[in-house]
Assembly symmetry: C2
Homo-oligomer: 472 residues x 2
Amino acid sequence: MSHVSLPAALDSPRRAVPETLKQALRDRFGARCAESLAVREQHGRDESPFDVAPPELVLFAESEEEVAFVLAQAHAHAVPVIPYGAGTSLEGHLLAVQGGISLDLSRMNRLLAVQAEDLTVTVQPGVTRHQLNNELRHQGLFFPIDPGADASLGGMAATRASGTNAVRYGTLRENVLALRVVTPGGEVIRTGSRARKSSAGYDLTRLFVGSEGTLGVITELTLRLYPLPEAVSAAICFFPSIDAAVQTTMQIIQMGVPIARCELLDANTVRAVNAHDHLGLRESAMLLMEFHGSEAGVAEQAATVQDIARDFGGEDFEWSRTPEERTRLWTARHHAYLSALQMKPGCRCVTTDTCVPISRLAESINESVAEVLASGLPYFIVGHVGDGNFHMGYLIDPALPAERETAERLSAQMVARALRLGGTCTGEHGIGLHKQDFLLDEAGEGAVDLMRTLKRAVDPRNIMNPGKIFRG
Amino acid sequence: MSHVSLPAALDSPRRAVPETLKQALRDRFGARCAESLAVREQHGRDESPFDVAPPELVLFAESEEEVAFVLAQAHAHAVPVIPYGAGTSLEGHLLAVQGGISLDLSRMNRLLAVQAEDLTVTVQPGVTRHQLNNELRHQGLFFPIDPGADASLGGMAATRASGTNAVRYGTLRENVLALRVVTPGGEVIRTGSRARKSSAGYDLTRLFVGSEGTLGVITELTLRLYPLPEAVSAAICFFPSIDAAVQTTMQIIQMGVPIARCELLDANTVRAVNAHDHLGLRESAMLLMEFHGSEAGVAEQAATVQDIARDFGGEDFEWSRTPEERTRLWTARHHAYLSALQMKPGCRCVTTDTCVPISRLAESINESVAEVLASGLPYFIVGHVGDGNFHMGYLIDPALPAERETAERLSAQMVARALRLGGTCTGEHGIGLHKQDFLLDEAGEGAVDLMRTLKRAVDPRNIMNPGKIFRG
């Protein structure tokens, strides 16, 4: 996949790591202080298409104490620190645009405590969601948030991630109960508790959730868990058009059906996953749905949704009742991005992430489709449509600047429309480097100024992931 | 009800409102600038038992522009401003401990827009929850959060309120989508959007939710709504002991039953509501439960819960199937506090608000009961036990300082135990004046220092509700 240059305005001066600090870090971390170009480059990119911006060195932390040591040192020397989890973010979050240190937390990957009887778990930030669910399964519990990638929980919290199950279970915003955080001065604080609710002072937990590594380093998370549902069933429903699938979704939500997953794939995406995963699905707009509950409850939900779908021309459901069939379908869904890229060899993908109030979803999608069709760019759509969130992927030839410009223009039009409809420029990917202007459009100068005020107060030397979310 | 003096440490110097500012406010607000002692005293108390601390004047704002004018002026003169909604807070939030202006928002009480098809509503901060639900009912929608009192939505957000339905629908934390806020300098900002989820920058919405009026004035709220359930049924179940009721609750939650309300009343509370509302209930520990869903779903939930209850010695459910019966029961539940006070004429009540992880609830309640029994103080218990949250009310004779000391000692023991069990000192009432030491115990010096850092950054002149949540 080709890469693109950073917007010029983000190409900030790099801040050098003084040799004395480097030596202190080498002394402390030994072989876990990496300075090879390969490791630095691997840590200076994410899944965004931006050019790599390598840090000066990479530290592999194994304890909160080490994180605190690094931040205290970085604070003393005003050197940037970029927390690194699984490297799966999509908006340039991990790029060392001002140089400094990448602090890799992937070795802090232990489940510290499963409190099954409270439906909570305490994990280190490098635990990934697959690991978590694998370790929980034998206890009859699961953590539902599923952004597709096998992201780390620390990174998911920092990005306020969500994904396919958010329509039923919420996002990281709703499912983080408590954190331990190292603040930029190197101090360790606790936020929240294991109580389900609290009115004890400012909501520091939610300040760090979604802060994209700009306010501190999360070193421990306590998360809500859920009992594995008594019954789970997944269904596919084909529709004569995207609009019919979206109208169905809107009515499902408006009626309050507690659907667990409600994913839209357009015909292009179905074609791509067919080619990649040999699924043999009909190449038509479809909803991929999942129902959780008691046996009777699941049957009732499905019957309600089938009735709604028929009203909009949807076909009879095709069912996946076994865990294996379901896994195959959801794996294909998670491959959609990769599968779509393979439809146009050598292409790269500009991905959007708007989210709108549910009643405006059809308008949001239909106008976006009309625009991309008029442009002639190949594209695909996948969407967590139960939340009003969908991703349009524009497939462009990186050798043709005009295609990139077209994709960026279409993306900007989509965001402008989403904001006009009362929505957001990013449902789940975050701002990072790429959406800073969109954030200004969305939140307004006053709110972004307040974010800057908070940032300056918490991190006066601007060491934590500088240059992300907003400028300056 | 007698009142008690403020803790000495909170008895901060009052900051006078300069005569020039008073005149400017009189000119702008006319008759809506009140300076009579009666109005000032009415605004210098809440439902806490603290001595009244009247503001110097009370302004009845009718628009966001007026709020911005007041804050800009107050900022220029470094004069305190205390936002006032319905006056129902419980922790001294409204007391003008440093003097200044009470800014009454009760006249900003319009529903600005009901977006029924999106399950959202936009309201001014003075709208109360009864008003909101009365205006929504004909559209088949409701706002579930029910703290008992007919509080204002602005106040509920500022306190991060919850109440009887939180076990199913969450608290104000989960149900505020967007705000408009006037910041201490008089600038208006927007936070959030009508999208159900977003990763667009810091979570300013959740920064203001629960900030107890210390960071700005909420002038508009966009809230999540829910379709009125197809079926609702309420049941009472009597138990041989509090412990049996609590064990039942724990199992309901651990099994993931989506119960909508799960309230504990101890025998003392039942006796009190019987006397007050002539209900003729058996005077025994009981759960008052409500189930929401489809007809079949409600029946299934109730059958599951009845089975669990029987395992712990619970009796057969007694049902309230009509809305009138349900209203009568829930009204009695909401009268519990008042009813209990009448059991000991002339008494006052020290109320606790701990919330613990669900598995520790029995321990939390049983030990608290043992302690209060040993003390000889009359008491009652009501609890949102599905959340792990309950209120113990100690009834004391204000003429007997020893009783007050006993109640405060018991309260401190309860909080210490809740923290030991992984919980919080306040599930829903907030910190205000009374729980500042408990907040330090709970969050630690580091986290409270971070709260202070945020406060100073947002409100450098400390004009917004000074002296609340933390000192200095």
